[in-house]
Subunit: 472 residues, 2 copies
């Protein structure tokens, strides 16, 4: 490539980076993998030096650290996704677990689930406007051996050869098998792999830069072309939600059973088995359905050091700049801990769908993304329980009015609640779809008749206890 052409390429990249920041509609992830001495660091470092480094984060993923091991495997990748308008360059990225895992298992290939998790993540990112560019730097066996030998011969460069590099060189056939199978199973239209020859330092950078340029162009086009959110309401008649008809309870019976259930809960979360697990509870329901009250009855049984209540409202600017589930991944509990969500990731298929805050395309794909999210939690041995607190239209009105009269509860009712109430039927339809599409054997929905507060609180506690006792 002539010097002039190179200057033009670098200029284009800078320009595209600038446009990406301005558009604030998309983001880009570049993953570089490769065989030893094929120039992974050199390529990434060179590309970064061509760009404005303030808007590129570089990260290498090695063996997961202690905090990472205490959470589902994809957690650490979620935590470092780039914000809209930015780029992230990763050494290995979410492929970091594949090779070491395969090594540890003596050449047995990575599990289908590990591959499926990656495919799901990449599909979600693509749908969300985050381009994923994957480059594998290749070297033939002879060149690789020669380079390693040269590096090791010189005391100034010997330290560059890691133990992993040596393993790779010594197990060329196995390593090649792992790599080609990984590439084959994760090469998809939305996130394709590119094999670049690492033999010539200059050429490999130029080739990577061109791939980056093309990927940036595509992400800019698609984010410009992205349709505006179309307001659209669920018009279907509200289907009947399954209901357990509640009977009224006297105070003594309630207090007694509440104490017993709290004791059961307290006992279950103090068990040794629970320390290897964790608990995620999601509470959904219309305004004034009694989510807060039910959560407090659970919290009373817990040691404050063990749990967090996460109230979910409109996203902050930082949260809005990340893929939708990012802000929920942030709160995934460590082993032995408890996260209670007062409203949850289901907001996308409830309020955002009903009120038209999100396009139909986006909330429709959310069902699948949510199922995958919860599957990753349960695979990590976290117990997941989800509650829909079903309050009738009449009872809701009664509670709104009572709250407005009470000076201490006034703040609980605002204009927005009254507006939401007008969509009561649409919420019923959305809830029915949600339950139908996201009820899985190990992440069950429980529909609670919330018109009877005491009954509702006891049933929530009972369900949590049952779910825990089955696993610990």
């Amino acid at each position: 490539m002539s010097k002039r052409a190179l200057t033009k390429l670098r200029d284009e990249l800078l320009d595209l980076q600038f446009k990406l920041r301005r558009s604030a509609g998309g983001a880009l992830v570049l993953i570089v993998t490769g065989v030893p001495t094929a120039g992974r660091s050199e390529t990434i470092n060179e590309l970064v030096s061509w760009l404005d480094p303030k808007y590129v984060s570089v990260r290498a993923f090695g063996a997961p650290d202690l905090a990472e091991r205490r959470r589902p495997p994809m957690w650490r990748y979620w935590m470092h996704l780039p914000q809209r308008g930015r780029m992230a360059f990763y050494f290995a990225g979410w492929y970091a677990d594949i090779v070491p895992d395969t090594r540890a298992r003596h050449g047995k290939l990575a599990s289908k689930r590990a591959i499926a998790r990656i495919r799901q993540l990449e599909a979600m990112l693509a749908a969300d406007g985050v381009a994923v560019l994957k480059i594998h730097l290749h070297l033939d066996r002879k060149t690789q051996k020669k380079r390693l030998k040269e590096l090791r011969a010189d005391k100034l460069t010997r330290w560059r050869v890691t133990e992993e590099d040596r393993w790779f060189a010594d197990h060329y056939a196995t390593a090649t098998r792992i790599v080609s199978r990984t590439i084959r199973t994760t090469d998809r239209v939305s996130a394709p792999w590119h094999i670049v020859d690492g033999a010539d330092p200059k050429r490999r950078v130029i080739e990577a830069a061109k791939l980056l340029r093309d990927a940036l162009r595509r992400v800019l086009q698609s984010s410009v072309a992205k349709k505006k959110v179309v307001k659209r309401f669920a018009e279907r008649a509200a289907p009947l939600l399954p209901r357990t008809k509640a009977t009224s309870l006297d105070d003594d019976a309630y207090e007694n059973e509440l104490g017993l259930l709290q004791g059961r809960l307290a006992y279950a979360v103090r068990s040794k088995q629970f320390a290897k697990r964790g608990l995620v509870l999601a509470f959904e329901g219309l305004d004034a359905a009694g989510k807060g009250g039910a959560i407090r009855r659970i919290a009373q049984a817990l040691d404050a050091r063990q749990y967090q209540v996460i109230p979910v409202a409109a996203p902050s600017p930082e949260e809005a700049a990340h893929p939708y589930l990012w802000r929920f991944w942030k709160h995934v509990p460590e082993r032995g801990e408890i996260a209670i969500f007062d409203r949850s990731w289901y907001g996308r298929v409830l309020v955002e769908r009903v009120r038209g805050f999100t396009s139909e395309r986006d909330w429709r794909r959310a069902y699948g993304e949510i199922n995958e999210f919860e599957r990753q939690l349960t695979e990590h041995e976290i117990v997941v329980a989800k509650f829909w607190l079903q309050v009738s239209k009449v009872e809701q009105l009664k509670r709104f009015k009572a709250r407005e009269k009470d000076p201490l509860k006034r703040f609980k009712v605002d204009e927005e609640d009254w507006v939401n109430r007008r969509y009561y039927d649409a919420y019923q339809a959305a809830a029915a779809d949600m339950i139908r599409l996201t009820d899985r054997p190990d992440a069950r929905w429980t529909v609670i008749d919330a018109d009877q507060k005491k009954h509702a609180r006891l049933q929530v506690l009972r369900t949590v206890c049952d779910a825990l006792e089955r696993r610990v």
Copy 2:
């Protein structure tokens, strides 16, 4: 308290919480400590239920987890400070380490440094508009024993008594000694302790609520009264910075020494001792001083999994809503890791001082806060090195012009850089003050003659190697 007075109190609290959110000028931390069965959880839970829980975070600090133990002790408290406009209620808060520590050391009182760290943090928070309200719930020995006995007798409540509770009850004298000494040494005008009798459940909540109300009133008053930032420039003549006069280097000699130094660095950070430590590098200097180039030469010697480069620009809204050092605490490396700051926490006493972005009162207190921050790093065995890259006015102009001509470096010079250049002398004065006031034996400043790029890069590397080799 009459029912009417109680309603009024709760109403006042809600109103103050609302005003706090609106003012967005202050925040509040409530720390509740106490002897067993004095009602810590009950008091906090009750107070939260009186407020809008979306803007109160509740957190209990127990024994530090693995990720926390790998960072300086105050790190976890920094990570959970409330944003402006919000409140955080902590069980034990940063006093969480005092009692267990004392227990582990068989009654020996917490170290002076542990107390000093707390005093520094609280003084910083107060100066920053974050009120710290500390409540200790007390019970006499007899009542405490009686309550524990009752709790343990009933199978519905037995689980509430923890092992720590029993230790406390069994070591009443020691526990009292720890508590009173802690309270005595950390009771300051800016963050006073309040002792509340925990015997009567209703009265203790009301008393806590009143203290909360008064604290909220004070923080609102002071944040309303807070003066606007006064633009003010350092007018002093620029003092001479100490300089090591650089000699020019030919390319071969440079490349050879660069390789040797990178090898030394690579060797040092791969040592077993380094895994127990960590490295923090801070780079400061005017625009075009060559910070990026020096950092890249260091990065070349490192495994990408081991380090992070943190470019520091204007704070994000989330960062601006926290105390100043929060965003740097976020990036404090774990043991064995390396954080390289391209500009740093010294921004407050450089650009913010020179350009008048921060009031004089605030940047003046930053020297002390920064010294404390770095002391906590070095106490945690992190190696800290700081560089001022000194570029002359003539050389800076030359570089600006060269960058503007180069299409690939254009983005590196913007209007802001030219504006900053007009403050060249003020920056010199600010840098001289900074070095004078924050140069400590284990967190040294090195002033680098940055007019000679090669020389500068080698000297930076040499300094880092020397600093590391002294410790590992």
